[in-house]
Amino acid sequence: MIGIYLHIPYCRTLCPYCDFVRNPIDGAVPQRFVDAVCGEIAAFEGPDKAGTVFFGGGTPSLLAPASLERILAAVGERFVLEEPEVSIEANPDDVRGGLADAWRALGVTRVSLGVQSFDDGVLGYLGRRHDAATARQACGAVAERFDNWGMDLIFGAQPVDAWDATLAECAALAPKHVSVYGLTYEAATPFAARAGDAVDDDTYLELYWRAEAHLAGFEHYEVSNYAQPGRECRHNLIYWNNLEYAGFGPGAYSFVGGIRARNPVALNDYLAHPGGKCEALRLSDAEVRTETLIQHFRLAAGIRKAAYAERFGRAIHEDYGHALDGLVARGLIEEDREEFRPTRRGFELNNEIGLALVHEGGEPRAIASEA
């Protein structure tokens, strides 16, 4: 079973901190694009069974219900869906009761709202097109119609002290899922010029852990993600378990049959050849193993030794013993009989875990196979 990702690369306004693949648009998503995506799906070569469908962006809530229907129909044509999780990301500005009703009717099971903040100052700083009142309305409209809904929040944006109130309001609305991202000042965005605003590391971590304090009853199941028990995003878990998925739309990645491939990023390139790839990389076994571990250590649950052995046919210690022991000694992960899990420091210094793992597990074997 694979996951299906659909990238809707349009936004009504372009947020100045964002480095996703997106293009400005005034009205609804053009038919030409919908045609292209449907064509790409139909032509997909690979597994037939899928368990999750995820509309991401860009702004999928700019899809007219008819377009959404066409794409879902194309997915249904090509794949056998088994009790699928069908998620859509939505901009609070776009959410009206009618639209949410349409989503339900079309089989969407999960809605994720790009709230970011309940503070107008922060939303202004981020250059979002919605305000706090709109966000509240959207949450209400979605909560009424969907049991499984969530929101994204951003911390570290000015004014920084609005964060507590946003968290409190979020907790009160009782979504099932919350993603909490630290604001980054990406190099290729207008925000690069504002990098001086970035909070220092201590403040960043304080804000980061504040979320855990507010979101009682949630599990902090991934570095940046919280969920009520059993409400983890199944689609994103595919990424963190490094399992297979097919991506459609410009810039979307796929990982099927050991090949990590990407669709052309520029909209025109994509529209000219839906299904073409701008990069395709066959990963070595060692690379897959390392990536799998790196991803697993973003999850609070870490990795089960038995799961590793089952997937790769050997004990995790044989491949990564040295690195894992070092990480345990540094207090970044902990080990028990069943599994390895990141510690709280392991969340804060998550990239250090990755750094310790790269060049480790695979290399001795690669050399041996050359000899």
Binding site: D202, L283, N351, L357, V358
Partner: protein, 605 residues
């Protein structure tokens, strides 16, 4: 066809750095047609990448020129272009031994400088005919009369017959060639006697093995001849020999008086000694030629492979490079912090930089270098004396009577208006005034004795700064003298790091310790745990600095395709980390081991 000995002239070009030797060589190559116009570039003979990038000559180069002189005869002129930088003066001495004459170039705008004097004296000592050439007369600042006077008054040469030249504009080239033919004596040497040829240089070529450059002093060297290297006792057969025009051009023989190259399947790199005498195995000469004094190392540093597994490769590279540059020495060494490596001795700081750079560049190695130091002499409690070339190997104060350090005598030539800052600088460097000579109305020569350690680090740069570039320096070792010296240790998280130890004068220890610790704080990246940096003399801690721990290093989002990009990024970071040295629990970047070098730049007190 062999050239009659009376039609051969062997000469070199000597001067202070940058006075235009290589540029004059270009003109001579051009004028005699040795290099056609297409292949001529600026400083054609500076072929090494480092030479071209830095615009200086590092290695002497020999070329054979064919010249029809005004007397109507065809001459063979063997030219050797030499380096001018003080560190490479041994190259000059070697080249001089292969010649009967020298062109002494003096930049008309700079006048006589320290290496002009030093190299001229070397040529006089070797009894060479010296032809003064006043160069760069095209420069607006050229002062021909004064330069002429300086040549006469300071060096003691007859400057009336000095040739006026502009190597850049091609003025004086013919005059130079004619003067070489007329004034440089023809080589002496019996062509029928037993062979004696001086090895004045050698290079390693990966296809041909060792290529040996020789000056045949007596007898005849021929292809197929069985030869004997007199000092190493090795025997070989001459597989190829020839002349450099400047490309290698094979010939059947080289006669007394000639300069050329020979190849004889020498594969082992250690077995060629520059300065050795080549003779015929069947008919050996009774005595070798005088040969060369061993180049004396004045600065030493540790060299360690950044990746421990490159140790063998480093040894290989050192051996190969040494064939090309016999003037640095190395021996195996080890450090607790840096593992297995080598201790190298150099002729000076520039020489050190160049050897390092060549090792990294030509042999594709990544190296960690420790701060250079001089060799100390330590007198133990039992009165036993030994030499310590590595600061970290200095015994504790309780085990020794005294430390002696090498002293040099420095000769500094500068315009008189800069004399007082020069004296100031020498004083600060613990210099002992010997004398000041006024060379002429505008220039003086200051002679100081001072600890070598004070000049190896940054003296030269400081001298250039305080004289606006007009000061020049020549020095020679004189003796060892007791000094009030202490070993300054650096501790990381409480553990002394041997590779960061240095020997400093007691009065400067505290300041140096402070500066070094603060430099290290900036160089050592944040790590998971706090890093304490301490500078100490024995058990006395002078200063403590801390590198704060890394608080966070996390990517907020990691979905679909991000993972491969992230893995690659981490792999690159890990590559970078590999270049760091793990010292106990601390990762130390390579530059940290050189931090002391730049301590001198800091504002003092």
């Amino acid at each position: 066809m062999t050239t009659p000995i009376e039609r051969i002239r062997n000469f070199c070009i000597i001067a202070h750095v940058d006075h235009g030797k290589s540029t004059l060589a270009d003109r001579l190559l051009q004028e005699t047609g040795a290099v056609d116009e297409r292949n001529l570039k600026e400083q054609t003979l500076d072929t090494m990448d480092i030479e071209r990038e830095r615009g200086i000559t590092i290695k002497s180069v020999a070329v054979r020129l064919n010249y029809r002189a005004q007397d109507g005869h065809d001459y063979v002129l063997n030219l050797i272009d030499t380096p001018g930088h003080v560190d490479f003066s041994y190259e000059v001495s070697r080249s001089l031994a292969a010649c009967e004459g020298a062109l002494l170039l003096v930049d008309a705008a700079q006048g006589v400088e320290a290496q002009t004097l030093a190299n001229a004296y070397k040529a006089i000592e070797q009894d060479l005919e010296i032809i003064p050439v006043i160069n760069k007369i095209d420069l607006p600042g050229a002062d021909i009369d004064s330069t002429r006077r300086q040549i006469h008054d300071i060096i003691g040469l007859d400057a009336d017959k000095a040739i006026m030249a502009s190597a850049k504009a091609g003025k004086g080239t013919r005059e130079v060639l004619e003067a070489v033919v007329e004034r440089v004596p023809q080589p002496r040497g019996e062509r029928t006697g037993p062979l004696r040829a001086l090895i004045f240089d050698a290079v390693y070529n990966s296809y041909r093995g060792v290529i040996v450059y020789v000056r045949v002093k007596e007898g005849r060297l021929a292809k197929g001849m069985k030869i004997l290297m007199m000092s190493t006792g090795r025997r070989h057969e001459v597989a190829e020999l020839g002349v450099l025009t400047p490309g290698a051009t094979p010939t059947d023989s080289l006669e007394a008086g000639e300069v050329g190259y020979l190849i004889c399947n020498i594969k082992s790199l250690k077995n060629t000694k520059i300065g050795d005498t080549v003779t015929e195995a069947q008919r050996p000469a009774p005595k070798p030629l005088p040969g060369y004094e061993e180049a004396q190392s004045v600065v030493f540093c540790g060299l360690y492979p950044a990746v421990a597994t490159d140790y063998e490769e480093l040894r290989d590279a050192l051996e190969r490079l040494q064939l090309n540059d016999a003037s640095f020495h190395f021996q195996a060494d080890s450090s607790d912090a840096l593992g297995l490596g080598y201790r190298l001795g150099f002729l000076g700081l520039l020489h050190m930089e160049i050897v390092q750079e060549r090792l990294e560049r030509e042999f594709d190695l990544t190296l960690v270098t420790t701060v250079p130091n001089v060799a100390y002499r330590v007198v133990g409690l039992d009165g036993q004396e030994r030499t310590v070339e590595n600061a970290s190997k200095m015994p504790g104060p309780a085990e020794i009577q005294r430390i002696e350090e090498p002293y040099i005598e420095a000769e500094i030539i500068c315009p008189t208006e800069y004399l007082s800052p020069v004296i100031e600088l020498c004083k600060k460097k613990r210099g002992i005034h010997v004398r000041v000579d006024y060379l002429d109305a505008r220039r003086c020569l200051a002679v100081y004795q001072m600890p070598l350690a004070e000049i190896v680090l940054d003296f030269y740069d400081k001298l250039k700064t305080c004289t606006r570039g007009y000061g020049s320096l020549e020095y020679r070792l004189i003796d060892y003298r007791p000094g009030d010296l202490v070993k300054l240790d650096i501790l990381l998280n409480g553990e002394p790091v041997d590779a960061l130890s240095s020997i400093v004068h007691r009065d400067r220890a505290e300041w140096t310790g402070r500066t070094l610790a603060s430099r290290l704080r900036k160089l050592i990246p944040r790590q998971q745990f706090e890093v304490a940096i301490q500078a100490a003399i024995g058990s006395r801690i002078l200063v403590r600095e801390t590198v704060k721990p890394m608080r966070k290093n996390v990517t907020a989002k990691c979905y679909g395709g991000d993972i491969t990009r992230k893995r690659k990024l981490l792999e690159r970071q890990k590559e970078g980390k590999r270049r760091m040295k793990q010292v106990g629990t601390v990762e130390v970047p390579q530059e940290a081991f050189m931090a002391l070098l730049r301590v001198g730049d800091e504002q003092e007190r």
